[in-house]
């Protein structure tokens, strides 16, 4: 492992001097197999899961009509993709084959759902962090708002679904509203908990330096809670993916939730599992991106995971 890395470092600059930059970058990328060793366990983990499923099918324990194994539901991508064309089907007079191609339909559907997740997550984070900071900043705000937020926090997103439709009808708005309302209250409570966990020494240092209350919040408390908030954001990303499907299954004309509902209504388990696979891959990919961001932004955090592994 270490040898491979050293090889690539040694050959990288040397290649760069004799070849165009793009070629040498490609060359270095190929030589540097680090990504493969990192991805290895992910691949193995997923293969193992899929393999057990396939075995169950092979021995006849899993009925392919109810629990089709991966090679069946991933087997005919073009066929599956057609079902993603839920948007045009809603329009009166549109033929099944009209509109975008299967691949385009999948992309439109995935794009729409992803956009709802991210807009909802971003709105919920901004509102929740703002509210959390306000609650601790103004004492009267704390007294006035926190009880209601705690009261609404355990309400299931399902309960908000009719409210979303009453308020916003059908379209992007109710789906985004659902994501925001499902995440907001928890995130406010998480923000307040993060603020309360800030080391009093940090605050005392700022106070002895003559910092005002505003400066203490802006320059000490907000950066101090950032690591925890990114963690909260990561966990809530999954929450957002869960909620958006619920919202889309009733309130919105197209999206992954609609595909799942279509699969349910037409008794199409292949399509259910195909959609689940797509959601899984998307969630995994975005979590990976957030983890990368976390590592870049929060370089000062100790690596406890490494320590635990060494036990």
């Amino acid at each position: 492992m270490a040898v491979v890395t050293r090889d690539s470092e040694a050959s990288g600059p040397a290649a760069g001097t004799s070849r165009p930059a793009a070629v040498s970058r490609f060359y270095t990328g190929m030589v540097n197999l680090e990504w493969l060793t990192k991805a290895w366990w992910t691949i193995l983990s997923i293969s193992l899961f899929a393999g057990i499923w396939e075995l169950c099918w092979f021995f006849g324990w899993a009925d392919p009509k109810l629990l089709p194994p991966p090679h069946i539901f991933l087997g005919n991508l073009a066929e599956q993709g057609k079902f993603f064309n839920t948007a045009t089907r809603w329009q009166v007079g549109q033929a099944m084959n009209a509109g975008p191609s299967a691949f385009e339909s999948v992309m439109i559907t995935v794009g729409a759902t992803t956009a709802r997740v991210f807009v909802g997550l971003a709105m919920a984070s901004v509102l929740a962090i703002g509210m959390g900071v306000l609650i601790r900043y103004h004492h009267f705000f704390d007294k006035l708002v926190l009880p209601t937020i705690t009261l609404l926090s355990p309400v299931s997103p399902i309960a908000w679904l009719p409210v979303a439709i009453f308020l916003f009808g059908i379209g992007n708005a109710p789906a985004i509203f659902m994501v925001v309302v499902a995440l907001f209250f928890h995130m406010v409570l998480a923000t307040v908990a993060q603020i309360d966990g800030v080391s009093p020494n940090f605050i005392n240092v700022a106070r002895t330096m003559g910092a005002s209350k505003r400066q203490i919040y802006g320059r000490v408390i907000v950066p101090a809670i950032l690591p925890g908030m990114l963690q909260v954001l990561r966990l809530n990303l999954f929450g957002a993916w869960m909620v958006v499907l619920v919202a889309e299954s009733t309130g919105v004309g197209y999206g992954m939730g609609q595909v799942i509902m279509l699969a349910r209504n037409t008794f199409n388990p292949s399509l259910v599992f195909f959609t689940i696979a797509v959601i899984g891959v998307l969630g995994f990919a975005f979590d990976w991106l957030l983890r990368q961001a976390q590592r870049r932004i929060l370089y000062w955090l100790p690596d406890t995971k490494e320590k635990l592994r060494g036990l």
Binding site: F202, R207, T208, M209, P223, W300
Partner: protein, 275 residues
């Protein structure tokens, strides 16, 4: 006793405490008296060590002088001004490293200046000067997590010095360091103290540390903390800590502390028995 005496004090003194006491969680069931009846004058440029068993309220006194907590009895002055809020004139250095992990070393050191809205050039030059004085100018652009514990405490000292404080309050700043590092840090602190001309109030429960550093050692009783006695040390610096004089002082301070530690233990045992 303190209330009978008129609250007069030399306005030149760096710290004046008259009848100072602190009760935590006053008015509740958990109320406990941490500190009571403290009369203490600290001259400008004086090095005072507060020595006492754990939990005797010596750190509390430091927080009161810093203005981070309000006294529940008596009053405090610093250079003639009533202590009501924290002030950059009185810098507190904590036991645990309290550097902001999201800032570089120099940004940490110049944090107080950035609060006042100083320009980046000014902040960097002041930080460089302060870090020079603690011998860490080379580490300016490092992150706190790249430094050792001793280096971090030196950065914390530099951060305090950058504010040009008249009083340095130190709450067991070297407690987390190993013995060798601590000895070096004591020498370093004496150099910094001499250069800065500030008064130092230094909290410790190490007798050796008190003998090495102090002009005067204020010995505390166990809870509630009172001043048991004040031991002046007029050994010239640099001190020979293996001299007869130093040994006698250690014995004297050990005896003074032993009674208090015994009492504290007896109290804790009684408390555990009733609980």
């Amino acid at each position: 006793m303190a209330f009978d005496a008129p609250p007069t004090f030399s306005s030149k003194d760096a710290v004046v405490c008259r009848g100072v006491g602190k009760t935590w969680a006053a008015g509740t069931k958990r109320a406990h008296n941490a500190l009571t009846d403290i009369d203490l004058d600290v001259a400008p440029g004086e090095f005072v060590v507060l020595l006492g068993p754990s939990g005797c309220g010596k750190s509390t006194l430091l927080y009161l002088i810093a203005g981070l907590e309000d006294a529940t009895e008596g009053q405090l002055w610093s250079f003639g001004d009533l202590v009501e809020t924290p002030s950059p004139q009185r810098s507190l250095i904590f036991q645990e490293t309290s550097l902001f992990p999201w800032l570089t070393v120099w940004e940490n050191v110049s944090f107080g200046l950035s609060i006042r809205g100083a320009s980046k050039e000014e902040r960097r030059s002041v930080a460089a000067e302060a870090l020079q004085r603690v011998g860490l100018k080379a580490a300016m652009d490092k992150r706190p997590d790249e430094l050792s514990g001793g280096m971090r405490q030196r950065v914390a000292v530099a951060r305090a010095l950058a504010m040009r404080p008249k009083v340095l309050l130190m709450d067991e700043p070297f407690a987390a360091l190993d013995v060798q590092t601590r000895a070096r840090m004591q020498d370093f602190l004496l150099d910094v103290w001499r250069d800065s001309g500030a008064s130092v109030l230094f909290v410790t429960h190490h007798i050796d540390e008190a003998v090495a550093l102090a002009d005067r050692v204020v010995v505390f009783t166990s809870r509630p903390g009172r001043i048991k006695t004040i031991v002046p040390i007029d050994m010239p610096r640099p001190r020979n800590l293996f001299s007869r004089e130093a040994e006698d002082l250690r014995i004297q301070l050990t005896d003074l502390l032993r009674d208090e530690v015994d009492r504290a233990f007896a109290e804790q045992e009684a408390l555990a028995a009733t609980a």
